[in-house]
């Protein structure tokens, strides 16, 4: 290493230490910050995109690829990745105990936010979301690399799964029956919430009931983001939820169809607003198919009727 690169690296490390990564939240980083910190050896960048071939044809230089379908969920059980698998994945991805891990992806960071939720469940520190995700990075014309990175293995150790971040069916049923003092946030589109459609356009109908969990309020995820894909200012998000009656005084459960969009809202409520939030990854595909649970279906749609 020449003196010059050494100096540059030291400067970069210093910049990482002093400059705020994001004006609004310690859990977000801006595209600008990330570009300046790509050579910082502490920073690990992980792409979680849902469309295959997106990472391969150009990703943020140095980023490694994590596949939602096979890496972040269990391949047999419907569950998040098992601890031993997840720890191996992180070490392979070069994540160490002292790493700053930045997650980003396509589709408005939905699956990257799922990643952030799983990282949090397993107690990994210093995990951040790239505000605006791939979309913003590309729109700003920042450079991409096409060669996949194989980083030196990291030494991170995961902690036992933190169940306080994850809601299960019983928790949601208790909330629906008003046996628990919990606020439910349905982050799907209004048409899904009202039962006019069983699933968003282009997505298979995986539930035999339409509608929502009784008592849930509808705050569609897209209301949290600006045109460029970044989160709106924290104060604005706080007000938006407060107007819907979600002010953090009661514990919250977020859900959607399969739990990925709701990870995005979970991230906003938990990380940006600091509320007590659990994500319900079973979401409507579990709840809407469960026998003997109450639903609310304002549109009155009946599955299979012609």
């Amino acid at each position: 290493m020449s003196l010059r690169t050494l100096f540059a690296a030291a400067l970069a490390a210093l910049a990482a230490a002093v400059a705020p990564a994001h004006a609004d939240s310690p859990h977000l980083v801006s595209t600008e910050w990330l570009e300046k910190n790509l050579s910082n050896p502490k920073v690990r960048v992980i792409e979680v995109s849902v469309n295959p071939g997106v990472y391969e044809r150009g990703h943020i230089p140095g980023a490694v690829n994590v596949r939602w379908h096979s890496d972040l969920v269990d391949r047999v059980e419907r569950d998040i990745a098992k601890p031993e698998h997840f720890q191996a994945l992180l070490r392979q991805s070069g994540v160490s105990q002292d790493s700053i891990t930045v997650l980003y992806g396509d589709n408005n960071n939905w699956f990257a936010a799922w990643g952030a939720w799983v990282f949090d469940i397993y107690g990994i520190d210093n995990v951040k979301l790239l505000d605006g995700g791939r979309k913003k990075w590309e729109a700003e014309g920042r450079r991409l690399a096409a060669a996949a990175t194989v980083p030196a293995p990291g030494n991170v150790s995961i902690r036992p799964a933190n169940t306080a971040l994850r809601a299960r069916l019983a928790d949601v049923v208790a909330a629906a029956r008003k046996e628990a003092n919990v606020a439910l946030v349905d982050i799907r589109s209004a048409d899904e919430f009202n039962g006019k459609v069983f699933a968003p356009p282009g997505v298979p109908e995986l539930a035999v009931r339409a509608g929502h969990v009784p008592g849930a309020v509808n705050v569609t995820w897209s209301r949290l983001v600006a045109e460029d894909g970044t989160f709106k200012p924290v104060a604005e998000i706080r007000k938006l939820y407060a107007d819907a009656g979600i002010d953090g005084r009661k514990p919250i459960i977020t859900y959607c169809r399969i739990g990925e969009r709701s990870s995005h809202s979970w991230f906003a409520l938990r990380k940006l607003l600091g509320y007590d939030v659990r994500n319900y990854d079973g979401s409507w595909t579990e709840y809407g198919n469960t026998v003997g649970v109450p639903i609310s279906n304002p549109a009155g749609t009946v599955w299979g009727s012609t």
Partner: protein
């Protein structure tokens, strides 16, 4: 004066088409979201069309040249494309998927399931090539040369795709669902797979060269031209030059967008048409989960493959005009029937084999896919049977 003017007309039209393609590329790049990719697809499609037309990169024609008069130059062009494409694909694979042994497949590469359905589909495709006179990609560039029979063949192919969709669920559940997907680097690593493929292709080339008989006509693409336009458009380009260019376009297309393929848009048209008419099963089991020439019910007018094929046809038209090879001709009744029938066979075969001579054979073998090699063998068999049948009828 008028004669001189008329002689210049095709050249002027070719320049106009070229300019229109360039303009279309610039405006496509402004499309929000997919613009860059659409512009690249148009440009690579146009380049592909130019190369196919100038080097007569037609799988059936070059095989027939060999079978009839032992002229192996065209087939050697295909072998060149496969060998250089193999090298380029392996270079890209190293970037996309650094470690090949983990059970994963490189994103988007045309590596398909191998079953008797692939063998049957490829053989029927080969038969269809012989019956209609060309494969689908060659019909597309011949469209640019004014071949009206190619219009019929392509319409037949759309109908064939419809039959393919109708038979898909049965074939999928019978064989395709449980069929293995063979990718050489899984077993041999990148080095082994690269060496094996290049060695096999070199052996094929050596064998073809031994059996090759040089025809009496002047060699293609001699360099006696004094003008640039003459150099490009006076004689056809040699087969190996076409093959090298096809390999280059194929590798770049895979790096940037998707492997080369010419049937996705045709199949999507058939699927959209069939779905709108209620002719297709409501669900095509597993079809959309395979890498290959994917079809989809069309939701937008501009698709990547549609733009690619559009560029191919327009560039081959410009190229044919510039070379004086644009000759609109009406097929005889017999030729028309053969074109449609062959088209139907090719459409069915391309759907159940998840691609044609470009999508499954070229892009498959370049990707070291077992499915590519199986397609090549079965398609060659079908072609030979068709060629024999036609030859015996002509006798």
């Amino acid at each position: 004066m008028t004669v001189a003017l008329r002689a210049r007309l095709p050249g002027a039209a070719a320049v106009l088409i070229g300019a229109a393609l360039a303009l279309a590329g610039f405006s496509l790049s402004e499309v929000p979201g997919d613009g860059r990719i659409l512009a690249f697809s148009l440009a690579s499609g146009a380049l592909f069309g130019l190369v196919l037309q100038r080097s007569r990169f037609c799988f059936y024609c070059v095989t027939r040249d060999y079978l009839q008069v032992r002229d192996a130059r065209g087939l050697l062009g295909i072998v060149t494309a496969l060998a250089l494409g193999t090298i380029g694909y392996h270079a890209v694979f190293g970037a996309f998927l650094p470690v090949p042994q983990g059970g994963q497949l490189p994103a988007g590469a045309h590596i398909g399931p191998v079953s008797w359905v692939l063998v049957l589909g490829a053989a029927v495709f080969g038969l269809g090539m012989a019956v209609s006179g060309s494969c689908i990609s060659a019909h597309l560039y011949r469209l640019g040369e004014g071949s009206l029979a190619s219009v019929l063949a392509l319409l037949g192919a759309v109908a064939g795709f419809g039959l393919g969709f109708a038979s898909w669920n049965f074939l999928y559940l019978q064989a395709i669902q449980a069929a293995p997907v063979w990718w050489l680097p899984h077993y041999l690593g990148y080095g082994g797979s690269l060496l094996l493929q290049v060695a096999v292709l070199a052996a094929v080339a050596a064998w073809l060269l031994r059996r090759h008989r040089q025809p009496g006509t002047a060699a293609a693409g001699s360099m006696r031209s004094r003008r640039l336009s003459e150099m490009f458009f006076d004689a056809r380009w040699p087969g190996f030059a076409g093959g090298a260019l096809v390999a280059g376009i194929g590798v770049l297309a895979y790096l940037r967008v998707a492997p080369l393929g010419v049937t996705a848009e045709l199949g999507s048209l058939a699927r959209t048409l069939g779905a709108a008419q209620g002719w297709l099963p409501a669900r095509l089991e597993g079809l959309d989960t395979f890498a290959g020439c994917a079809t989809a019910v069309k939701e937008t007018l501009l698709s990547r493959n549609g733009v690619f094929v559009g560029g191919l046809v327009l560039a081959s038209l410009a190229s044919a005009l510039a070379a004086g090879e644009f000759r609109p001709r009406l097929p005889s009744a017999g030729q028309a029937v053969r074109a449609v029938l062959g088209g139907v066979l090719m459409g069915w075969g391309a759907l159940v084999a998840l691609g044609c001579t470009v999508g499954t054979l070229l892009s498959g073998i370049m990707a070291a896919a077992g499915s590519g090699w199986v397609f090549a063998l079965a398609c060659g068999g079908g072609l030979w049977v068709g060629w024999r049948l036609l030859a015996s009828r002509a006798d």
